[in-house]
């Protein structure tokens, strides 16, 4: 499996190297010759399709390597020692959370390449950067080592910067550097948290059975057992970057103090919500989206934003559960605020692409909310619902937002403006296009029967148990969403006639555009009508993660309670020291079992209380 998974990650890189060797025929403005453009993009498309086919074949079609839906833990994991000086491993694996996102990435990449024929300048550089970007995205979802994850996370920064900065709109340089700076700041905070977690981790404290299980699952390198044995002997800590091992450590040992978890959760969470993006760090998104070329907007909305959500559920909660529990109101509060703010902001826009960009902020708010609904109350079943809903929302939004941006791109290529007040009447001029657009925008709206609905409903339902007030607010967002989407549709597609410039350029969509849109719409319908095609993969993993975190929570609550009890007991003792202190001692002596009996009595009393 090492080779297969590595192949899926690095196939695009190999493709990029190949593209870099091809000749590039350009005139002095950098515009490529038509046949050269077709060749370069065609090759890139081939690489994209190959990557998708390999990932699909490996994880779905081929029986021996297909994902087993009934297993919740990591599958096909492998781990190779990479930089022993820092215990860094080249470790990858896939489970029900990462699998749908990998397929989403490879799939949306194909569609984005299909949408790339509007790129005319410096096509070769574009293709190379695009393929490098794809490697980074797939790698993030498959990495099991925190260091490796961070490397992939940063790998896509540079290609993205140049893709926006070179091929973008008029304010591209501003937008590109804003994107870069926000993400870099977030990831620097993440790096600090990674290092703090690494140096506090200690594999020697992990129960041998748990370690054996990790080794048996190939999640962690077998050599680790030796160093752990040596570490136990000499009393030195064995650090690790392995994400699964870190989660085990956090949930079964006391390696990470509650304070450390609180801080690390906060740092990691900031790093991730920059990507999601959630308010107050969302402001790069509208700029980046508006300036980015259509295919890059599709990738940005379809895949890149999901990496933030993935980080939250893969890293924040499992590794810093205490922080997650304490900060749950912050998380959900930010999520709801993003939903509301995004929806209102979208209502106020006159730029077609900005509307879709703010709708992304609003829709990704659901994801943050779904991951965050975890409290000390209740049995936690609704949290599972929230997480499932958030996962579903990520996939659904990946499809619908990529589709919406593509629809915006199609009309922009023709009339070269995006002013909502200067459209209208496209229904008559481009009927097929209008039909696709209606379908995809309705999917974004969350209409039942389309992919946006399931996620939103699950998330909103789960909030009810968390906080009715927030639930009412988040449910009401649906109305605003309907408001801005319907209003947009009305201004662009309905009405008697087209009001803007370049009316003569409007012609029906071609086959490439139609097929790209149609694929997205079909997927939106399939995932809307048969949610189980997706949920069956995620269910077991989400279930396992939520269950183990809830188990951890019970233990944590107990320790909190006993800590409180003992605090109270101390106070009580202090108050009644003179009167009862001696008596207690005498009583213990009488029992003849010394202190142990007394303390166990005390705990019994505490539990009874």
């Amino acid at each position: 499996m090492e080779l297969l998974i590595s192949l899926i990650v690095f196939l695009p890189t190999l493709g990029a190297l190949a593209v870099a060797c091809f000749p590039s025929k350009k005139d002095e403005n950098g515009v490529n010759a038509k046949d050269n453009q077709n060749f370069l993009l065609g090759f890139t498309l081939g690489v994209g399709i190959l990557t998708f086919v390999v990932s699909l074949a490996a994880f779905v079609l081929n029986d021996s390597s297909a994902i087993d839906e009934s297993i919740g833990s990591m599958q096909h994991a492998f781990s190779i020692s990479w930089i022993p000086a820092f215990d860094i491993e080249y470790a990858m694996g896939i489970d029900g959370i990462s699998f749908p996102l990998v397929l989403l990435t490879t799939g949306v990449s194909i569609l984005a390449i299909l949408a790339s024929w509007s790129i005319k300048k410096h096509v070769k550089a574009y293709c190379v950067l695009f393929l490098l970007l794809e490697t980074g995205m797939i790698g993030v979802f498959l990495a099991l080592d925190f260091f490796l994850f961070y490397v992939f996370w940063e790998v896509m920064l540079l290609p993205m910067y140049f893709l926006i900065g070179i091929w973008g709109g008029p304010r591209r340089e501003y937008a590109a550097i804003k994107f870069f700076l926000y993400t870099l700041l977030g990831s620097v905070l993440m790096l600090i948290a990674i290092l703090m977690i690494y140096f506090n981790s200690d594999l020697t404290q992990l129960a041998p059975a748990n370690l054996q299980e990790l080794v048996a699952n190939d999640v962690i390198n077998a050599d680790v057992t030796k160093s752990v044995a040596a570490g136990i002997k000499s009393g030195t800590a064995v650090h690790t970057f392995n994400l699964v091992a870190l989660a085990e450590l956090a949930q079964t040992t006391d390696c990470f103090s509650a304070e450390l978890q609180w801080w690390c959760f906060l740092l990691l969470f900031i790093g991730f919500i920059v990507k999601v993006p959630s308010i107050p760090v969302h402001t790069w998104l509208p700029d980046a989206h508006v300036e980015a070329p259509t295919p890059i907007s599709m990738i940005l909305a379809g895949v890149l934003l999901k990496m933030g959500g993935y980080g939250i559920i893969r890293i924040c909660y499992p590794i810093c559960p205490a922080g997650g529990l304490e900060l749950s109101y912050v998380v959900v509060g930010l999520g709801v605020a993003s939903m509301v703010y995004g929806a209102f902001a979208a209502l106020a826009q006159t730029d077609f692409k900005r509307v879709v960009a703010y709708s992304s902020v609003s829709h990704m708010g659901y994801v943050v909310v779904g991951f965050g609904v975890w409290t000390m109350l209740g049995n936690g079943d609704y949290w599972k619902m929230g997480v499932t809903g958030a996962m579903y929302q990520m996939i659904g939004h990946g499809i619908s937002s990529a589709g919406m941006f593509f629809m915006v791109g199609i009309i922009y290529d023709r009339v070269h403006h995006r002013n909502l007040n200067e459209f209208g009447g496209l229904y008559g001029l481009m009927p097929k296009y209008t039909a696709l657009a209606m379908g995809l925008f309705f999917a974004g709206l969350g209409l039942p029967g389309l992919c946006g609905f399931i996620g939103e409903v699950l998330v909103v339902l789960s909030v009810w148990r968390f906080s009715p007030l927030l639930a009412i607010i988040s449910a009401s967002v649906v109305i605003f969403t309907a408001g801005y989407i319907l209003w947009t549709l009305q201004r662009v597609y309905l009405g008697p006639e087209y009001k803007g410039p370049h009316a003569e350029e409007i012609k029906p969509i071609n086959g490439r555009e139609f097929s790209t849109g149609a694929i997205l719409l079909v997927l939106a319908i399939i995932f809307g009508v048969f949610p189980n095609t997706l949920i069956k993969y995620m269910d077991e993993t989400v279930d396992q993660q939520v269950t183990s975190l809830n188990e951890w929570r019970e233990g944590y609550e107990q320790t909190l309670a006993t800590a409180e009890e003992s605090d109270e007991a101390e106070h009580a003792e202090e108050a009644s020291e003179d009167g009862h202190g001696e008596e207690g001692e005498e009583a213990a002596d009488e029992h003849g079992e010394g202190e142990t009996a007394a303390t166990s009595d005390l705990t019994e009393v505490a539990v009874a209380n």
Binding site: W82, A85, V151, G165, F180, L181, V188, I192, F199
Partner: protein, 612 residues
């Protein structure tokens, strides 16, 4: 009669010692031989191209410094020339890095065409002389050598800065550099004399031992003298490192001197200064085990050293008396805890016992060492905090000041200032963990070496690209690079990779150096719990984000800018040799992450016996 035999014994001992030392001193001797050769040739003729001779010299130097020794062999720490120098893994590592750099640098100067045939002999002898000084800096074990080495490395660089004759800016920068250098050296020498006066020796390990005995009983005056000495010595090193506030020379010198000289100054000189910083910090902060071994031996060496440095020594008690009288009382390092004193007492009582058992029992020695190290903990704390202070302001100021620069060499000057700050950060966790967690301390030193290895390639690459572009375009202003990617894509892509690597973006190599240093900061914070380390970690992180702006600004101009038609800058395509050189130097930037373990292993091996 007795004294004569002693004298002959001493002569014999010195003979044996020198013979032994010369073998390990081969790289330096090679450099000396070639310098003499260059000067001799210069006397005879100016027509001869000495490049190949120089290259041969550098290669011989590289081979004789024997970096492969670190790959397998267990390199023990060994004192040379009666303790003036020390030969250990760190010496080998830094010397190898310097020699490798020298080889690459010579090839680079040949390709870029500065110096020309006529100047060749002069420039090569200056470069070799400066490198000789840097090698000594890396292996200094005695404050006298520290000073000599700094001067030896410095004086040729002052001349190099004015290499291009007849250019006003070049001469100005050389003069500035020389005056600043002389000032800093003077201050440093004063600091050294204070320290030597107080401890009665200039041999670092002996000095540490002396300090361990002085400090627990030190009065306010002595403390003040010690602090003053530390600050003054740090001025000298800060000048070499171009650390704020002693950085003023750097932008002017970098602006005035040619890019080739900049590469030499920014890489070699910095690497050597950092090695020296490590030597001094660790040397003063802990007593090496070998020094405690046999108290009699110590006595001898101390005497020997007092003989060697007699001329420079001011009578000990006089200095301390004077300073007690003069110094103010506003120093506040915490040395008053009674624990070290007690430990000291223990150590003294146990010392005779050790003498008898020294052959087989090692443990008592360790105990003594621990006691000494505990006594020295205020020294370590003070040095650690002092360096932390320098590091934070250096990194922050360098990054902020670079933002406004319009000239690429000035920008890189500030960038090297900032990087000096990052590199100094490694020394603070080293000092904080020394004595309590020697493993962690070694890791911190190793992180610094890793950063240096990466940095050699990055800055050499950056300056070579700037030199090549200067040859083609005739300008070093950033705005003249606008739209350069269209005409010279390979150079621009390599420069972009190098710049992003300097920012510290993975998977480029700069990230790995930064990661190693940040890791030791985090390690130090979680073991030593000093909040200074957390401040450093956060400052380092924020600085990374700040630094993005100016590096990106250059790349943005080159990639996204439109070529300016008004000053049509030569369309000559880049030559194959230039391109090949740039690509070769940039390769480590991209691929070092794959085989990072080699670098980490090399660095780990280099510092293995450094802390003992």
């Amino acid at each position: 009669m007795e004294s004569t035999t002693d004298f002959y014994n001493l002569i014999d001992a010195l003979k044996a010692d020198s013979a032994n030392s010369l073998g390990l001193f081969m790289p330096e001797i090679t450099l000396c031989v070639f310098i003499a050769l260059f000067l001799a040739v210069r006397l005879v003729t100016t027509k001869l191209d000495l490049f190949w001779v120089a290259l041969a010299g550098a290669v011989v130097g590289l081979v004789s410094s024997n970096p492969l020794q670190l790959c397998g062999g267990n390199v023990e720490s060994e004192e040379l020339f009666t303790g003036l120098l020390v030969h250990d893994g760190l010496t080998i590592a830094i010397r190898s890095i310097l020699m490798l750099f020298l080889v690459l640098f010579l090839i680079f100067t040949k390709i870029s065409g500065v110096p020309d045939k006529e100047d060749g002999a002069d420039v090569y002898s200056l470069v070799f002389g400066s490198t000789l000084g840097m090698c000594l800096m890396a292996s200094a074990n005695h404050l006298l050598i520290v000073f000599l080495a700094i001067e030896m490395a410095g004086v040729p660089s002052y001349v190099l800065a004015g290499l291009i004759k007849g250019r006003k800016r070049g001469s100005e920068s050389a003069l500035k550099y020389a005056i600043y250098g002389a000032g800093a050296a003077g201050v440093m020498l004063y600091g050294i004399s204070l320290l030597v006066g107080l401890s009665g020796t200039a041999h670092l390990p002996t000095m540490a031992l002396e300090l361990a005995q002085i400090i627990p009983q030190a009065g306010l005056g002595e403390q003040a003298v010690l602090c003053l000495a530390a600050v003054m010595i740090s001025v000298g090193i800060a000048f070499k490192l171009s650390a704020v506030p002693f950085h003023f020379w750097a932008p002017d010198v970098f602006h005035g001197a040619c890019a080739e000289v900049n590469a030499f100054l920014s890489v070699a000189s910095k690497a050597a200064a950092l090695a020296l910083l490590l030597r001094l910090a660790v040397g003063l902060g802990s007593v090496p085990l070998s020094e405690i071994e046999a108290p009699q031996a110590i006595q001898q060496t101390v005497e020997a050293h007092q003989e060697t440095v007699q001329t420079d020594l001011v009578p000990t008690h006089l200095v301390s008396l004077e300073d007690e009288a003069v110094s103010g009382s506003d120093e506040d390092i915490d040395v008053k805890s009674s624990e070290p004193v007690e430990a000291q007492a223990n150590a003294e009582t146990e010392a005779p016992a050790t003498e008898a058992e020294v052959v087989e029992a090692v443990d008592p020695r360790l105990e003594i060492k621990q006691a000494h190290d505990e006594a020295l903990s205020p020294v370590r704390n003070f040095i650690g905090l002092l360096i932390a202070f320098f590091a934070v302001i250096t990194a922050t100021f360098g990054n902020l000041a670079a933002y406004g620069q319009k000239n690429i060499k000035r920008l890189l000057a500030y960038s090297t200032i900032a990087h000096a700050g990052y590199m100094m950060m490694a020394v603070t966790p080293l000092m904080m963990m020394l004595g309590t967690d020697n493993n962690g301390a070694e890791q911190a030193a190793s992180a610094l070496i890793q950063y240096i290895v990466v940095y050699v390639f990055l800055n050499l690459g950056a300056f070579s690209i700037i030199a090549f572009l200067r040859n083609y375009v005739g300008s070093e202003e950033i705005e003249d690079y606008s739209g350069m990617v269209k005409s010279r894509p390979v150079l621009v892509i390599c420069l972009a990779l190098i710049f992003f690597s300097l920012v510290g973006l993975p998977p480029l190599s700069g990230f790995l150096g930064k990661f190693a240093i940040f890791a030791s900061l985090a390690d130090g914070y979680s073991t030593a719990g000093s909040s200074a380390l957390l401040v450093l970690l956060i400052a380092g992180g924020l600085n990374t984000a700040i630094s993005l702006f100016y590096y990106l600004g250059v790349i943005k101009t080159m990639v996204m800018g439109e070529p300016d038609e008004s000053h049509h800058l030569g369309d000559r395509p880049v030559g194959r040799i230039e391109m090949a050189y740039v690509v070769v130097v940039s390769i480590p930037t991209v691929f070092l992450i794959v085989c990072w373990q080699w670098v980490a292993g090399f660095a780990d091996e280099a510092v293995k016996h450094f802390i003992s």
